[in-house]
Symmetry: D2
Subunit: 202 residues, 4 copies
């Protein structure tokens, strides 16, 4: 089949930078696979009275072949700022504007399990409402296979999870090395799935 | 045991008024059982850059014996405005300030199933993080028992669900009669559970 | 692209026949789209001491391009007999033998919401562990669009839901007409997604 | 208030003994609090054609003040054998025979997150159908508080989680020391909540 460069948009909220570092690592994986990744970070100043609006971001998402959703897990769910973006996309939903795009998700929190599975499930529920096609994480915990690279060390399947201790400032944030590798591998997987899914359309 | 009037706070977001009407009906049930209900409606003007803050509301919640959480189901989850309130309560969470309070939840959307179960599950997850004690809905679907009053007509168990067609303005909103009765019964149940749970503390 | 007939396996448990009727309607949709559907019904006699085993069924699943999972919702989750099949597939899981197959799910219960969303979420979690690609339901509730055909009348997104009153015997079971159409449409969608996903592999 | 000894039934399935060790530690916590714990282990020989039946176990559960549910997480959910028990309790459900009993849950798997949250959510869904009152885990991750005892090291809230490497035989199974302490503390919490909840009934 012919090779076309696919556009993978990574839309995420990050408060203390861990989720941002995960987004960067996923982007690296997408690019290594030969495709285009764009980081779209949701910020508080895009919001007014709890509602989110940014037409430029929405246009990029509408044009993308795949949308990867990312949020820290706060109080057992996506961050409110991320949910404000999700709710703003309900107009797109009603028109099913993202139908049959590729979707995937990732999250971060400071404890090992920490209700992160619930966040990934929620991201998949939202993608289901949009009739998107959901790409799961794809890497077995590598220690099952006798490896020590830390890939999928937490045991996540619906998407990718990162875990790091709480920090007092953004500049301190750093990813666990295994979580970083997991994200790069996930970016590669998402890009290749997008290429595969879109190829039949050419 | 002695009877003490218990304080049940109902904290909720409502956009087009259906969730507000559910909150009122739950309040009616609490009051019929002889207890005190307070409606605390989350509004957009309590938010700045996606973050919620209202010290007066937080003080009332801290003082309540039970907290009932309510939100419409938007895009398969709680409304962003409601989540902003939840996230603001993370300080209380870290201090476990609501530990062992009674908790319960309700939601509304325009389709019959409509991913409302996911919203109730999320509310229970949040209550679990707070180490609250979760009161489930308590009424079997009454049509199973040959009744036609519409109580629990949707078949909800982790909390109470309402469903009404979409409306174009607040003033048009009205609850299904069965959903209304379900809410009144739920208020009664929550108030009595709170009385029971608190009695041992006297 | 070239057209190849794809193999869609529908593996399900059905006690009082409603889930079986849904499986048949999905199969009809697959076949109308020009692909092959095989119904694989899980039965109690495939089980011993709570464990399921049927090598012929497993071989057919291993050979399929897509696997559609179906179960009634019992006590808020998949039927135990269906879970016994899922657990038996853990050997395939460990070898990631179903990785990158297409997956989808459907469920039935006697109340309108009835915790069916939790069942569909579980099916998606299981598919995630297998690193399968999840196809969501794809049809908006048609009454949102002013139609009365009953397609997605319940408002389900992660998969398809059916709802029918309890019956006392298999022969009485019949599907709601809207639910039946929803299943046929879902079969068509799954078949076409499988064709699209597999095309790049030729 | 008067002190009555309460009966806490712990009903669980365990394949390679980790979940059994968790049940024992929860039982220890119940007993330290001065209450009675009974371990009811579900076994394959209680099943025929995928259905579970054991009248003696059901009588004990019907007589208990609290029921604690336990299962390993297999393929992202409760074990099929445990679900067979749950499904057999649907008769009790229809009569709402466990209404207003105390309920809680625990699970174990071999990876850190490993979709265990989904299992605890399912247990809470099932308890909701029974109109039971759900007691959440109650211990913050102790490392947040600067402690190194390992209590809630995984960050679980809806119930308690254990994690241990896969073993090849039952005799090898042992709990992580922190997970064991978490279970003992959970048993204490459940017993005291049961005492509190039941006291008003005397």
């Amino acid at each position: 089949m012919a090779f076309y460069m696919r556009a993978v948009a990574i839309v995420y909220f990050s408060a203390n930078n861990h989720t941002h570092l995960m987004a960067e690592a996923i982007s690296e994986g997408v690019q290594k696979a030969g495709h285009q990744a764009e980081l779209l970070r949701i910020t508080g100043d895009q919001m007014s009275e709890g509602r989110w609006k940014d037409d430029a971001v929405m246009e990029k998402l509408n044009a993308a072949d795949a949308i990867v959703f990312g949020s820290p897990t706060y109080m057992g769910g996506v961050a409110a700022q991320f949910k404000a973006f999700i709710d703003a996309a309900s107009e797109v939903w009603f028109a099913q504007g993202w139908k049959d795009k590729i979707a995937a998700g990732f999250t971060h929190s400071s404890s090992l399990s920490g209700d992160k599975q619930g966040t990934l499930i929620y991201m998949a529920i939202n993608a289901a409402q949009h009739s998107m096609t959901w790409i799961n994480a794809g890497d077995m915990p590598s220690h099952y296979l006798g490896k020590s690279d830390g890939i999928n060390r937490l045991g996540a399947f619906m998407g990718v999870m990162g875990q790091s201790p709480m920090v007092s400032g953004d500049e301190e944030a750093q990813l666990d090395a295994g979580d970083r590798l997991t994200c790069v591998s996930f970016g590669d997987r998402i890009a290749k799935a997008t290429q595969r899914w879109m190829a039949a359309e050419e």
